[in-house]
């Protein structure tokens, strides 16, 4: 079973909604059926092959090529299979997904993995805001699964997330972990302001110093055992989390006491820095 391969042939003038680009929608379809799937261009209904050269059929492995910056909802609600994107991709990538994996060789828009239940999304470029977040008004963001963004991200990463892991390779903008209810956010390069605002529960780990809200209080420094387990899990994703006592230790900040919440932010202090304080 070879992959279904789609190549964007025409850049849409306005956003194109392509929730059909998902293994769940394509896997059982013959070539012609795939070509005629509906996509939404602005207010008009169009066909998938109006925009894509399509090769292959009946596969839950999908490759998409081209600059998909204006394409929204790719991989929406997918539960299985593998989706690989060679190029940038627009908003809501993998929103509501419950399984399978998405890999993007490029940048992604806002709302990557919003309210997802399970599965893996990796973006090798930058991404927008609200990664793994709850949509406006919803009580709960992502409930499981893993999102890895190699680059930087926008506002409100992991807003109201309950379970699962988000790893951000470069700086995250304000309000990472906003109203977080559980799960883990790993900030390999720190974040801008107000990280963990209104956190109820959950864990944020930053490997770089970050500006802390005044409603977080420094508890103490230690080397949590659970991070050793977590580091092992992350190493499976190719991410290194330091946790050995001879490398350094973590400052633990608790908050957000404005809620009051039982969230925690761990900030890594490498051994030299820890010694010099």
């Amino acid at each position: 079973m070879s992959a279904i391969r789609l190549t964007l042939k025409e850049q849409p003038g306005v956003p194109l909604e392509t929730e059909v680009l998902s293994p769940d929608a394509l896997a059982d379809l013959a070539h012609d059926e795939i070509r005629s799937l509906p996509v939404q261009l602005g207010k008009r209904r169009r066909r998938l092959d109006d925009f894509f050269e399509i090769e292959g059929e009946r596969s839950d492995e999908i490759e998409v090529h081209g600059d998909l910056s204006l394409l929204k909802w790719i991989g929406r609600g997918m539960s299985r299979g593998r989706l690989t994107i060679h190029g940038n991709v627009g908003m809501h990538l993998g929103a509501y997904m419950t399984g399978g994996s998405i890999e993007v060789h490029g940048d992604a828009g806002d709302w990557v993995g919003a309210e997802m239940g399970d599965g893996l999304i990796s973006v090798h470029g930058n991404a927008g805001g609200q990664i793994g977040a709850a949509y406006r008004g919803s009580p709960t963001g992502m409930r499981g699964g893993t999102i890895v963004i190699d680059g930087s991200t926008g506002l409100e990463v992991g807003m109201r997330m309950k379970k699962g892991t988000i790893v951000i390779g470069d700086t995250a903008k304000d309000f990472a972990g906003l109203q977080m209810k559980g799960g883990n956010i790993v900030l390999l390069a720190g974040a801008e302001l107000r990280t963990g605002a209104w956190m109820i529960r959950g864990t944020i780990i930053s490997l770089k110093p970050i500006a802390m809200l005044p409603t977080f209080r420094l508890a103490r420094s230690y080397n949590p055992e659970f991070l050793r387990l977590y580091a092992r899990f992350l190493s499976g994703l190719g991410i290194t989390l330091p946790c050995a006592a001879d490398e350094g230790r973590y400052d633990l900040y608790s908050g957000d006491v404005s809620v009051p919440g039982k969230g925690e932010i761990f900030v890594w202090q490498p051994a030299e820095a820890a010694a010099s304080r």
């Binding site: 003038g13 806002d110 605002a197 005044p214 009051p260």
Partner: protein, 319 residues
């Protein structure tokens, strides 16, 4: 999850013995606010008017409103969210130390005193302006003050409300809500309303260049929006309905002059507290009303072939 606890302005007039303004300058921006609703008037349960009220002003600089305040708290720019977070913690008796407060430019003593006053009030109100809602943190700044007000109700009666900008913004909000379920940032491209601020709100659509035409009513985005949004409006066919020449009408392909609602056209305006007021025209205008024009555009569009894809009248799987 917090919420929004509010009242009509008459409640403020009749009851408020504690009035706080955060990031607003009503003395200059809402000149009648002090005298008509919030500060000066004698109310049913505050018979001595101004004497029965404590007024606190929180802002980053001394504006003209400071003169009207009993207490002025000069906060460091961009630290509103932090200060409001500390207040929420203090209201609940959480420990916050002096060092944590320092970055706000205020002292623990000032904030503790403020919390005491708020809890002692019989009826407190917090008004907030664009100095809070449009600075870094934006909707979360507003959410902070609204939540603080909601939480204060565990101790005493408290409400909060935004001091909104000009025009009938509230009215647009109210009507959008009953017709679509959402207050603003609504997208109809799939035939039913969808809502996602940041994705569908006007300024974002324009900045990203996601739209290929614009019809503008009762607003002058050409004067207020960021340059990339203005540039896009100039690029696409933009149609403006406005009684006068505006920044937007200058860059529009079409400007239709309409009658001024409230002066020469009837209508309904919604106050900032969502109370409708009838607008009765005092003059006649040679120009059509906004409503007339939109109705005629709508009729003309209805005569075109329908672009909606054939399908059911409802959907249970929204995208």
């Amino acid at each position: 999850m917090g919420g929004k606890v509010s009242c009509t302005l008459g409640e403020v007039k009749n009851r408020a013995d504690f009035v706080l303004y955060w990031g607003g300058n009503p003395a200059e921006c809402h000149p009648r606010h002090f005298t008509k609703y919030a500060l000066m008037p004698k109310g049913r349960f505050v018979p001595r008017g101004r004497k029965d009220r404590t007024m606190v002003l929180v802002d980053i600089r001394e504006t003209k409103s400071v003169k009207a305040a009993d207490i002025f708290l000069q906060i460091r720019p961009g630290k509103d969210f932090e200060a409001l977070s500390i207040l929420r913690a203090l209201v609940k008796g959480q420990h916050v130390d002096e060092k944590q407060v320092a970055e706000t430019g205020l002292t623990l003593e000032q904030l503790t005193d403020l919390v005491d006053r708020m809890k002692r009030a019989k009826f407190g109100v917090m008004f907030f302006g664009m100095g809070l809602s449009m600075t870094r943190g934006k909707h979360m700044n507003s959410a902070s003050i609204l939540t603080l007000a909601a939480e204060l109700n565990a101790y005493t009666k408290f409400v909060a409300m935004p001091m909104r900008g000009h025009g009938n913004v509230t009215g647009a909000d109210v009507v959008m809500r009953w017709t679509t379920g959402y207050p603003f940032g609504v997208n109809f491209s799939r035939g039913y309303p969808r809502y996602n601020p940041g994705e569908f709100s006007t300024v974002d659509l324009l900045v990203r260049g996601d739209v290929d035409a614009a019809l503008i009513l009762g607003a002058d985005p050409g004067a207020t929006m960021p340059q990339p949004a203005i540039d896009h409006l100039a690029r696409i066919p933009t149609v403006v309905l406005d009684p006068k020449v505006t920044h937007t009408s200058r860059l529009a392909r079409v400007h239709i002059t309409t009658a001024v609602t409230g002066i020469s056209a009837p209508g309904t305006g919604y106050r900032m507290d969502e109370i409708p007021l009838p607008l009765r025209p005092a003059l006649r205008s040679p120009y059509p009303t906004d409503e007339d024009v939109v109705r005629r555009i709508h009729q003309a569009v209805a005569e075109k072939p329908d672009w909606m894809a054939a399908g059911g009248q409802t959907t249970t799987t929204q995208i």
